[in-house]
Each structure stands twice: as structure tokens, then as C-alpha cells.
Amino acid sequence: MTTLAAADVTVALDHTQVVKTVSCAVHSGGWLALIGPNGAGKSTLIRAIAGLVAYTGTVTLDAVDTKTMNARERAKVIAYVPQEPVLPPDLTVAQYVMLGRTPHLGYLATPGRHDRERARAAMERLDVTRFAARRLARLSGGERQRAVLARALASDPRVLLLDEPTSMLDVGHEQQVLELVDTLRKDAGLTVISTLHDLTVAGQYADALVLLDGGRVVAAGSAGAVLTKPLIESVYAARVTIITGSDGHPVVAPRRGTLRETRY
């Protein structure tokens, strides 16, 4: 059982606290979505969990403090996909996906048969094998995102951290990518933490939501409990209508009107 838990995580960037004593947890095979307005601290929290920014508090994976793991051990179990991954334009998809095997290679080791096998499996799962020999610069937005996910999965992680995985995609590709992640989660028991800006989508795919505002947890729980009109209107300073969709998930629909208050 891979349970990832953050306890009292606080992150200060340039002497300003952007994440303040946040606690949240996600069980094995679960999908936790971090939502909240711009600047709420979603990305920073996910970067802290990935070990990319210094934080106080603890992040535990199956009750093991991730600070006690060295970089390679951590990289073996936690894969991180940033909002805007750096894609070396001339690298082929196959070469790029192979980079995902890095955590499993000793300092001077070179990828062996098993590594190639795992990389190939990741490419097949994300259906990128067809353009394995293509250069990254030649990929469309959707293909690119799938290549990035293949690289993340090539390390056979237990936890997948996704920072706005669909912000560059149209609604069709967004659904494709999220369905893929959901399938991986169910098939491979992957635990997913993602930030998602689309509230309706977050409610549809994640089984738990954490609503952040100003670096603090404002609400946490199921979509029905978090995506409520008073919470969303006050945190986002927006006017919305919450409709119950045909699948029972709440649909957050923006409503045209004059804003009572303006926040920046």
C-alpha cells in the first residue's frame, strides 16, 4: 500500500510563506487533485513533495520520511511531470523516454536490456511507439504530453506527481490524457497527485480534492464536499452555478454577472 502523506508542510520562497502548514494524504491507487486560484501554492506544494524546494514538516511514503531517502531512491518511487517540461528538441521520443530509467542506473551504468524493456513498455502503454524515432520538436501538443508521461512511467514509479498536466491541451486531448492517467492508476496501482485548474474535470477524475487558498487548506474531501457554491465563490471570487452532471459529479459553470469584489 503506497500511502503518500504530507504533514504540516510549510514552504517559504524568498522569505514569504507560500505553503502554510498543509497536511493532506492520498492512499494507494488514489488520485488527489490540488485545486485553488492562481498563486494558492498548488505547484509549490507539489514541488515540495517532489523534493524540489526546501520545506519544513514531513512528507512520508508508506510511513517513510522522504527526506531520509537519497535522490535516486526517491526518484525510483516518485515521478514528477512539471507544468512545462523541458523537451530537448533534437532528442528522439525513444531517447527521451529512456531518460526515465535514470533512477535505476548506477553512476557509471548504461541502460541494459531490462531498462530498454521497461522503456518500451512505457511507450506502448502511452501509445507513442509509433513515433518513437521522431524528434521531440516534431510532436504535437497531445503527442508531447504522452511522451512526457511515458518518460515519467519508464521509471516504474509508485507515485505520479502531475503539475497541470492538461493546461496546454484542448478538451479532447485533455480527456484523453486524464483517461490514460486514470487507466494507469487502476491497472498499475499508481498513486496520483495532480494540480488541475479545471474544477469540473478535477471533480470527475480525482477521488479526493484539496482546495488551497493563500497557501492554506480551505477544504478537503470528495468533489461533492469541496465543489460547493459558497466555497468556490468565496475562494475564487467568481460567480458560479453548481450543476449536478449526468454522472453525478458536480459541474462548475461560471455565471456572467458583475463581480461584487475584485481580487488580484
Partner: protein
């Protein structure tokens, strides 16, 4: 597959370059007899020709191959570490430091002793890089330039300009040495000897093995420091090791040849054009191509105006620049 073909082709290119360089020169040697002598077969070469071949020409060819290989490899290493295709082996104050070292040795120590100028250039080159690296890493803690790569390059430019200014000042006060310094700056292998080869061989071996072993790490670094870190790599360690090894490689080359431009920046691009961007192939390929290229350039340098010699730096740029433009045209559809 493409990688293997490119490596074999580059190895053949180097062998051909070495053979051509061994046959061609001021003393006219019979190619067949030369080949026989090189293979330790009975040969019709007379003792004088034999001495020319083994004591004058061959050490120069071997030294040229070493210098070219080291410069290209160091350039490729720097380009990988800094994720910047415009970087070359003289970066980070390496060339400026070597220039200052050699100038000081020529002006204040007479520069006549066999080892003075090379040792001074070697120490100067390493000191230049060390100063730039220390300045850059210290400064990167206080800047907003992100992962420290830009800061390091800027520190290299600052240190380089400073060292060049000191060199110019020293030279200005000692006009009689200008010709000697200028000659050194343009690069030459005319003083090549087996002793020079054996002197730089240990440094060359250590530095090139260290760089070649980090090809995969440089590939990981190409996704940026942050993502590299989430893949379990420590970018700072990789950068320090590859910079140190590249600095050592470039310093060993500069010590015996003076400043030879162009090889360190151009050859890695040719390697990329041949086998793609992965540093696991770019590094060994650069080394082989750089070695072959410099051997040929030196052959031109010593034959075109024979018995006078052209500075090899002039040849590498004269031949290399048009060749590079041609390569660039071929790669223009590839984004950086």
C-alpha cells in the same frame, strides 16, 4: 546503428588523416616505404628518412591528434554541461588564463626553457577556469538567473576579460616580446616531440575518460537541472566533474599547442549532425573527428608554404569556418 556507423566512419577518417600526415611533408617520403616502416616491416627508407619519420613527423602527428581530440571533447563537454551550443573549450577563462600564463612566462622568464611556457599556460588555463567557476557558483546564490548556468558563463566572460586585460597590460610594457607571444597565441605544433606527447598523455587520459563516462549524465542534464534532479541526478556534481575534466583536457592541449580556436566549438556540431544529439555518441565522435581534423589542419599548416609554416589556428579557422557554414546549412531545420 547510426551511432555505430558514425563511430566507425570517424575512426577510419582519423586513420586516413594520420597516414596522409605521415606521408606528406617537407621531406619527401615514399608512401609505400613509409607505410612499411610504420608497420615495422622491412622498409626501403634510409636512416635519415627514418629519423624524419619517427622523430619529427610522427610525434607531431600524434600530438596533433591528441590536441584535436582533447579540444573537441572539452568543447562537447562544456556544451553539454551548459546546454549551450555556442560554448567552446576556451570558455570560462580557460583561453584567457592560458594566454596570460604564457605571456608572463615569455616576458618575465624568457620563455626559453623547454617546459616554461607549457607549464605556465597549463597552470594559467586551470586557474582561469577555477576562478570563473568559484566566482560563478558564489554569484549564482544571489541572482535570479535560475539554475546557475547563465551566471557561470557570465562569470567566465568577466574573468576572461580581466585576465586578457592583464595580459595586454603586461605585453604593452614589453613590446619586444609581442612577436613571440603572438606566435604562441596563434597556435603551433612545430615544437612537437615525443617528450611532449608523454607529458600530456596522463592528463589527456584521465580527463577524456572522465568526460566520456558522463555522456549519459549530460543527456539527463539536457532536460534541465530541475527535472534532472527528479530523475535522481545531482546536477551540481555532474557539472563540477565535467567542467573539471574539460578544463584539464583543454589545459593539456593548450599547454603544448597554444591557442587553437574553432575545433572545440565546431567539431561537436559536426558530431551531432552525424549521430544525433545524444552525448553518449557526441562525446566519442567529437574526440575522433577533432583528432583527425587537427592532424589534417596541421598537415596543411606545414605544407602549404613549405618550408615555412602557417599558424595552425589560422588553418583551422580558414578551413573550418566554410566547412562549418556548410554543416550549419544542413542543420538549419533543426532548432537549437
Amino acid at each position: 546503428m547510426r551511432r555505430r556507423i558514425a563511430l566507425v566512419a570517424a575512426a577510419v577518417f582519423l586513420i586516413v588523416a594520420v597516414l596522409v600526415a605521415a606521408f606528406v611533408g617537407a621531406a619527401d617520403l615514399n608512401p609505400l616505404a613509409t607505410a612499411a616502416a610504420l608497420l615495422h616491416l622491412p622498409s626501403s627508407l634510409d636512416p635519415l628518412d627514418r629519423a624524419v619519420l619517427f622523430q619529427i613527423r610522427l610525434p607531431r602527428v600524434v600530438l596533433g591528434a591528441l590536441v584535436g581530440g582533447l579540444l573537441a571533447l572539452a568543447g562537447a563537454g562544456y556544451q553539454g554541461v551548459f546546454r549551450n551550443p555556442l560554448v567552446d573549450s576556451g570558455m570560462l577563462g580557460a583561453s584567457a588564463g592560458a594566454g596570460l600564463g604564457a605571456t608572463l612566462a615569455i616576458v618575465y622568464l624568457g620563455g626559453t626553457g623547454p617546459g616554461t611556457v607549457p607549464v605556465a599556460a597549463f597552470v594559467g588555463s586551470l586557474a582561469g577556469v577555477a576562478a570563473a567557476y568559484a566566482t560563478g557558483t558564489a554569484a549564482s546564490r544571489h541572482t535570479v538567473l535560475g539554475d546557475g548556468v547563465a551566471t557561470l558563463l557570465l562569470a567566465g566572460i568577466a574573468v576572461g576579460s580581466f585576465l586578457t586585460a592583464v595580459q595586454t597590460f603586461v605585453l604593452q610594457r614589453s613590446a619586444s616580446d609581442i612577436a613571440a607571444v603572438y606566435n604562441w597565441l596563434l597556435g603551433s605544433l612545430s615544437a612537437a616531440s615525443w617528450q611532449q606527447v608523454t607529458t600530456i598523455l596522463p592528463y589527456a587520459a584521465v580527463s577524456s575518460i572522465a568526460i566520456l563516462l558522463h555522456g549519459r549524465h549530460l543527456d539527463v542534464l539536457s532536460v534541465g537541472d530541475e527535472e534532472a534532479r527528479t530523475l535522481g541526478l545531482r546536477p551540481g556534481v555532474t557539472r563540477a566533474v565535467v567542467v573539471a575534466a574539460s578544463a584539464l583536457a583543454a589545459a593539456s592541449a593548450v599547454a603544448v599547442s597554444g591557442l587553437i580556436g574553432f575545433v572545440g566549438i565546431v567539431i561537436p556540431h559536426v558530431a551531432r549532425r552525424l549521430a544525433g544529439p545524444s552525448y553518449t555518441s557526441v562525446l566519442p565522435l567529437s574526440m575522433l573527428l577533432g583528432a583527425g581534423f587537427l592532424v589534417l589542419a596541421d598537415t596543411l599548416a606545414r605544407t602549404v608554404l613549405s618550408p615555412a609554416e602557417l599558424p595552425i589556428g589560422v588553418v583551422t579557422a580558414l578551413v573550418g569556418a566554410p566547412a562549418f557554414v556548410w554543416v550549419l546549412r544542413g542543420t538549419s531545420h533543426v532548432g537549437t
